[in-house]
């Protein structure tokens, strides 16, 4: 359970305390992850099924790694198609998998709301690994964690230390890119605003969805205004198929006006501003290689923290975890 929640379908339903409970546990998990022998018996005998209806390397591997470190059995179920005309329905697939008695179903799906639909039909815990343009809650959590590390001044430190999540309050975070199609942006908006940060979203008007202000975002169309004075910038991936959509005329023009390169970063960003990206990066489109690999980048910290946060989520949702949480992984 995360607070009173049996499933993790998004960050929107979670309270501030719920978010903190996952992230505080993630610090213990990160310590396990960094051990030379990274294996704890905590979830031995538990089964995690990764049900992926969309291509994903990073997220699936991250969940699989997280499950295995905790000694859960991880099974990957990949479906090349979610089309109802081609085969069984999502509900049928979920019920079939449930008949194999998994404890947790991790689902990635191109349709917004698919994890909710599955959660409505199965009795095991459901974790969204990203649904359509709705939410990507574990990405939101790992971004919050990474930002808190950065603001606490411990990012990249050799020893694992607990970030101060209170540092997020009052900070300004800019999210730049195709916000309209981004589930990462939505989870970040929910998470950041719940922890007291201010969020700016930036992109061409075609990539800013109607009514995003109602989620607490300040809308910018010029990159400079969005990133100047920001404490961190989250750059989103620009997908090539958006050109025909047509949301932008091309990547060349996009990169010129909304991409971040060394020169813009040096002129517009504060010295301590961190740069995040959910990956995979289109080098030379939204981020120049120098910036992606530069000193401000915490992109690889995000990947590491992703495993830790997912360990915490699996642990909390695997059932009966509360008493274990006191003595188990923290000890």
């Amino acid at each position: 359970m995360i607070g009173k929640h049996r499933h993790l379908t998004g960050l929107e339903p979670l309270s501030r305390d719920d978010l903190l409970s996952v992230m505080e546990l993630a610090t213990s998990m990160k310590e396990v992850l960094r051990r030379p022998i990274k294996k704890v018996p905590t979830l031995r005998g538990k089964a995690v099924v990764n049900l992926f209806f969309e291509a994903s390397t990073r997220t699936r591997t991250s969940f699989e790694t997280a499950a295995k470190i905790l000694s859960a059995d991880a099974v990957n179920w990949t479906s090349s198609s979610s089309s109802v005309t081609k085969g069984e329905t999502l509900v049928d697939t979920a019920r079939n998998i449930e008949a194999m008695h998994p404890d947790i179903l991790v689902i990635r799906h191109p349709s917004s709301g698919a994890p909710q639909l599955v959660a409505d039909h199965v009795s095991c815990a459901v974790v969204s690994a990203g649904d359509g343009a709705h939410e990507h809650p574990t990405q939101g959590l790992l971004d919050l964690y990474t930002l808190a590390e950065h603001f606490t001044g411990i990012a990249g430190a050799p020893a694992v230390a607990a970030p101060d999540f209170g540092t997020l309050a009052g900070k300004t975070v800019a999210i730049v890119g195709d916000v309209s199609h981004s589930r990462v942006a939505r989870s970040n908006l929910h998470g950041l605003t719940k922890l007291g940060a201010k969020v700016r979203v930036c992109g061409p008007p075609t990539m800013i969805p109607e009514g995003i202000e109602a989620m607490g975002a300040e809308v910018h169309h010029q990159l400079r205004g969005a990133v100047e004075g920001a404490d961190a910038v989250i750059m989103l991936r620009i997908q090539h198929e958006r050109i025909g959509d047509p949301l932008i005329p091309g990547t060349r023009e996009y990169s010129k006006f909304w991409g971040l390169n060394e020169k813009k970063a040096a002129e517009w960003l504060t010295p301590s501003c961190a740069i995040l990206h959910p990956g995979p990066i289109n080098r030379g489109v939204e981020l120049s290689p120098e910036v992606a690999d530069g000193a401000r980048s915490v992109i690889l910290d995000q990947v590491e923290n992703g495993v830790a946060v997912r360990m915490a989520v699996l642990y909390l949702l695997a059932g009966g975890a509360h008493e274990a949480a006191e003595g188990g992984a923290r000890s």
């Binding site: 979610s82 509900v91 639909l117 109607e210 009514g211 989620m215």
Partner: protein
Amino acid sequence: MSDIIFIEGGRVIDPASGVDGIRTVVVRDGKVAEVAERLERPRDVRAVDARGKWVTPGFIDLHVHLREPGQEYKETVATGARAAVAGGFTAVCAMPNTAPPNDNASVTQLILARAEAAGLARVFPVGCISKGQKGEELAEYGELAASGCVALSDDGRPVMSSALMRRALEYARAFDLPLTVHEEDLLLVGKGVMHEGPAATRLGLKGVPAASEEVMVARDLALAELTGGRLHIAHLSTAGSVRAVREAKRRGLPVTAEVTPHHLALVDEDVARSRYDTAFKMNPPLRSAADRAAVREGLADGTIDCIATDHAPHSAVEKDLEFDAAANGIVGLETAFAVCLALAREGALSERRLVEALTSSPARAFRLPGGSLARGAPADVAVLDPAREWRCDPALFHSKSKNSPWKGATLVGRCTLTLVGGRIVHELAGGGR
């Protein structure tokens, strides 16, 4: 004396004849024989005790999908007509998006034969605007009219070609048929599945902008003006469409419009509240609160002529899916009265206007018989209990399909007795109490 019925003690609301008061309605030989304050009932004549109830003309729904021929697992003419009379509807217009589509006399005749055999609500078929609803060639309006079609529509599919739409409006004039149009610019809609706005943004669902309807309404109003053809806007859903129709009517254009109970009652945020429940997915989608306020106002002031359910039965096969993949549409015949009555209780609509929008207004829009309790009119009558509370359990629907956003809700107001042509075709169990 068996074909005489006295409906006594009810509040007769008949906007067509300007009656609103306690009256007795006498039905004889299938017709309304008399509506009067005090009448002596002969012995042995059947009496219906309507005290505490409303007695209105049977409701007329210009927009239902009966799914026959072709999709009988969702609905048949008989089950749809049964659902209709259970909801107080004595006449329904059957949309032509059947399989095959109703673009020829044989399909029209089949629908009429099934309706006749069912012997419940009157069924008025609507023929296709274009052959096969493909939007390419005109269907044979003369043959459709002669075999019993009362209007033309490619409902479910907009007529994207402005040139075809122009010719359809023109050609239909020869047979005096209205075109009832599904207004949607498909290119603007794209892969949209709900109203574009803050709720869609939060849910991450692709949006359908209000403008996708409004550009087509604007186009068709211009074409109605060009051609003089009769235009009826189906399921009008946005504030911009209301403004456009209001202005067109002010200028005297031959246009009428309908709105659904769900667009009057629900908004896009209800999709979020339902957590992606596909019983809240329909086309046009549930709109913003401002749009809802505008369609309510439009209905109240007569810009929108009538209420039509867009009764769209779908089985679990089409609905128990991802929101993106689920079929559009909900059933509406058996919940319409209660849902619309709530508007009257909230003061959004007078009771008289509510009844008018379900009876005489739709009759006038398509020039159908009925919609009135005037002496000599067909005895199509609904007896309604405006205070009756009931739990909406779709398993108890007469419709074959259960896709209702009101499942589990407690509704107030229910039809207790329905007469078609003087025959009792529906009587709610326990209806007298």
